[in-house]
């Protein structure tokens, strides 16, 4: 993993100058800096195009959205476009709909990420420990839900629970609270349950894949040593495996939290925001796309972007998520 790396600049500088001749040392330094410069240049050549593309497809739209959010602008009345400063933000932040939608979004994020982390870890362990001959089949089977387009899976779940065409009510009518007359999409609690279940089913494979990569990094010697010392399975898991894959867990949680916070498809298909199930992406969509209010819609999008950035900052600064560590670079 990390042992076989090329000698770094630091180690080279630390080498004692053989013979102690100053001229020699100077030449070596200049050679080193030439090489550093060349490496830096190569780095730019390799990463430059991607950097430019990133600027064009992400930075430009973000800046455009920030700019548009300062205007009162309706697409069907382009002549009435007027600068309103932070007026759109005031409207959004003083509206209870924003806060209610933020609450629903946070609720969905917290529940799905927590459940998916536990389930995903279990699945990752199963995949990791599976007999070699079964491993391929098992991984494919677990990954199938993740391969399904979200809109398609949302429709599948919707029709399964729908009061007219669904089969869930008929199959599970022995469960207390479920009967043929239960309309899942008529109340907040039941609607959110289906949305969250579908979200968990769909994206647990993603989190388990990330955790599987983390599991693969845990040195087997440590596990074996712990077992030799008489540690139980639970102790090995708690004291050896989890601490050694902390970076992978944090990255998985961060990626999934960012994803869950931007949930759209499931809510859009199943309830379209009815019964208080609206999430922030849907609110932005309805203002910008359905109402064609570009200014208001942009303001919500910018605020949503701010929330996502905040989640990133909190995760990286507070929980010290180490993106490089998760990839085994250190």
């Amino acid at each position: 993993m990390t042992s076989a790396t090329a000698p770094t600049r630091g180690s080279r500088a630390a080498q004692p100058a053989a013979g102690g001749q100053g001229r020699d040392a100077a030449r070596r330094r200049s050679a080193a800096s030439d090489r550093t410069r060349a490496e830096a240049r190569l780095g730019w050549y390799l990463a430059g195009p991607a950097f430019v593309v990133m600027l064009a497809v992400t930075a430009y739209p973000i800046l455009q959205a920030v700019w548009e959010s300062l205007f009162s602008f309706r697409l069907t009345a382009p002549d009435e476009r007027a600068f309103v400063g932070l007026g759109n933000y005031r409207v959004v932040l003083t509206d209870e709909i924003w806060w209610r939608d933020l609450g629903v979004t946070v609720l969905i994020t917290v529940i799905t990420v927590a459940v998916e982390l536990v389930l995903g870890f279990a699945l990752a362990l199963v995949m990791h420990r599976a007999v070699r001959s079964l491993r391929g089949v098992l991984r494919t089977a677990i990954l199938v839900p993740y391969g399904i387009i979200t809109v398609v899976s949302a429709f599948a779940w919707f029709y399964a629970f729908d009061i007219n065409s669904g089969f869930i009510n008929a199959w599970f009518d022995w469960v207390p609270g479920i009967d043929p007359d239960l309309n899942w999409f008529a109340q907040t609690g039941t609607s959110l349950t289906v949305i969250i279940l579908s979200e968990i089913w769909k994206t647990t494979p993603f989190i388990s894949l990330l955790l599987l990569a983390g599991l693969a990094q845990v040195p087997t010697e440590l596990e074996e040593a712990a077992k030799v010392d008489g540690a139980t399975w639970w102790q090995v898991l708690r004291r050896v495996i989890v601490p050694n894959m902390k970076a992978a867990i944090m990255v998985a949680v961060l990626f999934r939290a960012l994803d869950a916070f931007r949930i759209f498809d499931n809510v859009f298909i199943m309830t379209n925001g009815a019964n208080g199930t609206e999430v922030l992406s849907l609110l932005a969509y309805r203002q910008a796309i359905a109402r064609l209010e570009i200014g208001l819609g942009s303001a919500i999008s910018v605020l949503l972007f701010g929330c996502v950035v905040a989640i990133c900052v909190v995760a990286i600064k507070l929980f010290k998520v180490d993106l490089a560590g998760a990839r085994g670079e250190r």
């Binding site: 069907t76 409207v91 709909i97 007219n164 796309i289 359905a290 208001l296």
Partner: protein, 430 residues
């Protein structure tokens, strides 16, 4: 290396020349693109027939729009705001016409065309195709809801809708006495607005008093006797569970399937249900007995003794303001909306004509025994508020009047009016 380069050069020359040929080509007639709402294929057939009838003057190609009316509007409005010249003809849902006309998305209609296409059109459809006193779209087909009922249930409840207008209160009583479900659309979608509007209009009120007003001046007149009466009826149906457990998510298709089931009784719905039931019987999915049990009457009245104002829907043809051939597009629209085509479309797709003449077609009379009733319903029909801000009005109603069981007859109409007014003033989100 050099051979590879030569190959690349050869390929490039071939590609460029192919492109040039393509550009020089197309000596044929101009192609008009018609954006159509999904149907059973009738609009494609009409496009083909009109292309043939044009004798090489133009070719009509169709392009499909999304299924939901609101999604159709979203797509067309976004494209037209970007001055999309590929939109020559579009199938437009009437409530969105004022918004499009007001924004300058529709090419002005020549006077002679207006004269011809406005002649012999049912009242509701003419009103729906008009914006500030001028015809801005070509009336194509016009929809209205009827009261469909199971004769057996009506008899059991001692009600005879065929004999004369029935009221919503009578339906509520009948459904509650026979322990059956009323077929009404309670889902949070456009169909809910359709229902609210019909109830308010039938009580002699209007949701919007001055539809042509500016956004900040649009007056929502729901906190009135008519608004309260509409809210009372909806909340009663919701609270007593008369729409069934599926009411909060019931759209036209859901109510249709309840109507055909064991607890079906009375349903308000568009005429598409008639050919749909007949083909279901032919396919063996529906009992002939159910079809024989079905009756139809005018939309229920809100107030006893006052005529109902049934919902009005349908599709009108708009010509895109940025089309390269608006004159040809209007010629094509006239061909498409020809009464003979409308009659054929009615029979094939179940969408009623806007032309009064088309109803006299013997084939129409045979396929739709209720054709005259549909025509009468269209003459009585009231359009939804014809304001450029219809989307906000409808969205505000859907947020406050859903679910039907949560409606408070005293407070909900006022809350809806306050929300819509604040949204239109830009003070609140929708």
């Amino acid at each position: 290396m050099s051979r590879r380069r030569r190959l690349a050069q050869g390929l490039a020359v071939a590609l460029v020349s192919a492109g040039l040929v393509a550009c020089q080509g197309e000596p044929g007639p101009p192609v008009l693109t018609w954006y159509t709402n999904p149907d059973a294929g009738g609009q494609d057939r009409i496009a083909q027939a009109c292309t043939e009838a044009a004798g090489g003057e133009y070719v009509i190609e169709t392009a499909g729009l999304p299924r939901e009316a609101s999604a159709q509007r979203d797509q067309l409005a976004r494209r037209l705001a970007a001055q999309d010249s590929s939109i020559d003809l579009m199938s437009l849902d009437p409530p969105f016409i004022p918004e499009f006309a007001n924004a300058g998305f529709l090419a002005p209609m020549p006077d002679d065309v207006a004269q011809r296409v406005g002649d012999g059109v049912v009242e509701g459809a003419l009103a729906g195709a008009t914006w500030s006193g001028e015809l801005v779209t070509v009336p194509f087909w016009a929809n209205t809801q009827l009261l469909w009922y199971r004769t057996s249930v009506a008899e059991e409840a001692g009600l005879d809708p065929a004999a004369g207008p029935v009221t919503w209160d009578q339906l509520v009583e009948a459904a509650s006495a026979t322990d059956t479900y009323l077929g009404v659309q309670g889902t949070r979608a456009e169909s809910l607005t359709v229902w609210i509007n019909a109830l308010v209009e039938s009580a002699g009120g209007h949701i919007v008093e001055d539809p042509s007003a500016d956004a900040a001046d649009v007056a929502i007149t729901l906190d009135t006797d008519a608004g309260h009466e509409a809210a009372r009826i909806m909340s009663e149906i919701g609270r007593q569970g008369l729409g069934g457990p599926g009411l909060p998510t019931a759209d036209e298709n859901a109510t249709f399937s309840i109507f055909q089931g064991d607890r079906g009784s009375f349903m308000v719905n568009w005429p598409f249900v008639w050919p749909a039931m007949q083909s279901a019987v032919e396919a063996g999915q529906l009992d002939q007995g159910v079809l024989d049990d079905v009756g139809w009457a005018l939309y229920p009245a809100t107030v006893e003794g006052e005529d109902a104002r049934p919902p009005y829907g349908g599709i009108n043809l708009g010509v895109g303001a940025f089309s390269a051939h608006p004159d040809l597009a209007y010629a094509a629209a006239e061909c498409i909306a020809d009464p003979a085509n409308q009659a054929e479309y009615f029979i094939s797709d179940g969408n009623p004509p806007s032309s009064t003449q088309a109803y006299d077609d013997p084939a129409v009379q045979e396929a739709f025994p209720m054709a005259d009733l549909i025509r009468q319903s269209l003459e009585q029909a009231a359009p939804r508020p014809q304001t450029p801000y219809y989307n906000e009005v409808s969205g505000g109603l859907q947020q406050t009047w859903h679910p039907p069981s949560g409606i408070d007859p005293e407070r909900t109409p006022r809350q809806a009016a306050e929300l819509i007014t604040a949204v239109l003033k830009g003070e609140q989100l929708l």
